[in-house]
Amino acid sequence: MQTFLQYTILGLAIGGSYFIAASGLVVTYTTSGIFNFAQGAIAMLAVFTYWQFRWGWNWPAPLALLMVLGVLAPLLGALLYQIVMKNLRGTSEVTKIIVPIGVMLGFQALATWIWNPTSSTPRQFQKFFGANAFVHFGDIKVSWHEIIAFVIAIVIAAGIRLLFVRTRSGVAMRAVVDDPELLQLNGGRPERLAMISWAGGSFLAALAGILIQPMIGSAMSAGQLTLLVIDAFAAAMFGRLRSLPRTFAGALVIGLTTTYVIAYFPSKWTWASSFRNSLPMIFLFIVLIVLPQDRLRGATVLRLRERFRMPSIRTAWIAGLVLMIVVFCLKVIMERTAVNTLTLALTFAIIALSLVLLTGFAGEINLAALSFGAIAVIVVYHFGTSGSGAEARTTLWGILLAAVVTALVGAVIALPALRLRGLYLALATMAFGVFVSRMVLTERNERDIFGLKFTIFTAGQLTIPKPKIGPFDFNSPDAFLFLCAGLFVVIGIGMVYLRHSGYGRRLAAMKDSPAASATLGMSVIRLKLSIFMMSAAIAGIGGVMMAAQIGTVNSDRFDILLSLSLMMITVVGGIGYISGALFAGIFLIAFVQMLDLTLKKFAVDYSSLEAIFMFFVSAVTVLPATIGITMGKNPSGAVSDIVEGLDQIKQSKPLMFTLIGLEAAIWALTATEVITNWHFVILTLINLLIVPVVGGKIVIARMMRGVPKPIPPELIGIDRPFTAEDLAEMDHALNLEGVVIPSAGTVREEASGVSA
């Protein structure tokens, strides 16, 4: 009984803290319609900042609290809204999900940069009034901190409830969600309300972080605290992101069950602690499953800012060929390590293809691509290899089996999510991803599964050999590079074929309007399920290739944060393009690593400037997230800009030949070792990225010179009278050539004739 009460109180306190974080989510979601994935990251930043003030600089607790909760956290929230989230109006659901994820990854990298996790002295974070401040109720010892946490949770629950129902500003915050424009017509200021709510949400996140850190009782970890948000997600989902009482109940249920698991699971159940860590995910998944079906929408055609064009099949073949040639040329001049990096980048590009297929083509979201990769890797490790030692090879059958298994797992994940869209599906996949990381990839003990002695993740790492398919052995780095490049090209071209098929058009239709698709007699469910399975299989194949390239992988390789980064960078590259996936792989693996190496090399070469270069080395870790955050301003992605630039180059033959000629010259110089690979990389970047953009502008300027600005057709007749040419063109566009239109007089006579 004493244990029970002890753990109940701890559970209530932890649940209360979850509620505080979750209520922040509800507040920001309610007023801005943006789900703040960065809620946990804000909490994490607050915990580290508070630690810095309180124990790093020995400030008194009230001052440190005032500074963090009263000043910095609200300021951060307000700035986030003003600088980043405000720009998300009118973007697609994917962008609305990706940008907060970018913020989350950015904060995470920032914290690791400022507070080095490998620091020699462990950072101690203590409860309020110290670790020994207890109150005794009979036999039970309760720390003041736990009491404070629970009381604050109740106060906040009541406070927010009052705010939303009893104050005009609170009601106005709810009104903003319905119709910001109408609120303005009423005399309200929607932007200011949204900013205030973000400040409040950020305050709540910070408060939750400071309360919960000493109660989870482990060392301060940026990653762990960031993912804490998922526990809050689950609680917020209980209340469907609206109802605070239900969110409160959900948070307490999660808090209590997790502590009871610690208290009562027998110690011989070695999986109990993984299970405890996965519980919020399991809750989240269950809640999402029992959520009522999302209404099929389609009544309003959203005017989105994203635009994607699909290449023709011919263009796809040419692009594929060009890619193979480029990879070959690079292989000739590159060092061994660089070849390895390029291969790894290509394997990530294959995984990113699964995201292009799912999100770009079908509008569904998967935030855990690498978790599907992890499952494929486990399958290959156990069933898909032949030979041993240096002769070990991954078999074709192993890869195919892995693809089938991941597709089936994809189906299992997607089935409940089929009724959901956008944010909810994204959360379900994220829950799955974290579940795989915490529950499956931590399985290092032998288990008796279906009478089979089995260890899922042997010794915390799996070794995947290079594949051998029929007579072709891909063990050498070069051969494997071409296998990965070829695989990317084949899957990519296959996807272009798919997009041009009837199936692809159905996907596009479903993405635009599920309701219209359903009324046209399509089976939306079958469509969603099949695309999810296909996408999971591609992610699985990519994951196997990645593991084969690395050789031996541990569970960190499939971390949810890496999945999120990949998704984010694919969106940055252009989620609707095959080349967007290539961009993601190259950028995330090769480009970031190259920058990192270049800067470190400079730091060594110019040792007097070492500090500056090392600063940039750290800055590179924040770079992908920073780019992700800018998506709100350019939702079509970087590739679309490059494609537009290249399009203009096609118009101008001299420019195109200059570009190709220059690149060939740079390559030849490198191949003959006149210049080093470093120069090659830098010159190529300049040539490929800057020439099209600058050149494109010059071309446009030249074409525009002397040509009058075209008048949009709807203004002809108003800004200038119709010419015979205009009329002929209009007739042609409307297919009215040769049709004689009766004069206005006859029309009116006919009309009056009808009415009489």
Binding site: G187, I718, A751
Partner: protein, 246 residues
């Protein structure tokens, strides 16, 4: 016609028309939809904007309400230029707009909807009194979510806001849309009463007949320009031509 032409003397606030548009051009993105609109609404008058779908009536109202900034020209309220003033500021100084398609918040209760109206500077008790007196139905449903009421009741709610905030200018966009003819007649009766209290009203309407009974002046809007202004009697003949596009 001459009464509502725009006045040359820019400084004169006294006796100036309440709403005045001078050579206003406006665009959505790069596409210009208003090509130089001149219009004025005298104190206490009802001016109807008539014209077919897509002519630019709603855009004119958007410009006046401050939701869309004109690309050139001037918008004046009581003689003062209000270009660049935001919609919420205009609402707080006495401009009331009922946008197209029910100006209500569906997920707020009736009472909370009325509460939002108080941002224009009236007390909630006052708003509720006026609203429930005029529309007893709303009083019965004060705790109901506005989105769950019928179309007519929703339009009542938005009208209740217009009545209770005591505006100097009222902008009504397509009041009749999707409503039964009886309800529309009822609503326009209320509009007429409001105008008799001295409120200047600018109303856009696709179905001309319903509004011509209460309007003192009407302007025909075609392709983003005003082609004709006059009293309803003067315009009677031209209306059918305007709608048939000859």
């Amino acid at each position: 016609m001459s009464e509502i032409n725009y006045h040359e003397d820019h400084g004169a606030v006294e006796g100036a028309p309440l709403v005045e548009l001078v050579d206003v051009r406006a665009a959505y993105g790069t596409i210009e939809v208003l090509h130089g609109i001149n219009l004025s609404v005298p104190q206490g008058a009802v001016v109807a904007l008539l014209g077919p779908n897509g002519a630019g009536k709603s855009t004119i109202l958007k410009v006046v309400s401050g939701l869309l900034q004109p690309t050139s020209g001037e918008v004046r309220l009581a003689g003062r230029v209000v270009n660049g003033v935001s919609a919420d500021e205009l609402a707080r100084i006495g401009l009331c707009t009922i946008p197209e398609g029910r100006g209500i918040f569906p997920n707020l209760t009736v009472r909370e909807n009325l509460w939002m109206a108080t941002m224009a500077g009236v007390s909630l008790a006052e708003v509720e009194e006026i609203a429930y007196e005029r529309f007893p139905r709303l009083g019965e449903r004060r705790k109901q979510l506005a989105g769950t009421m019928s179309g007519g009741e929703q339009q009542m709610l938005s009208m209740a806001r217009a009545l209770s905030v005591n505006p100097s200018v009222l902008l009504l966009d397509e009041l009749s849309m999707g409503l039964a003819p009886l309800v529309v007649a009822n609503l326009y009766e209320i509009v007429a009463q409001v105008s008799q209290e001295g409120v200047s009203i600018l109303v856009s309407e696709q179905f001309a007949r319903t509004v011509l009974g209460i309007a003192q002046y009407a302007a025909i809007v075609l392709h983003g320009t005003i082609t004709r202004v006059g009293t309803p009697a003067e315009l009677e003949d031209e209306l059918s031509a305007a709608y048939l596009g000859s």
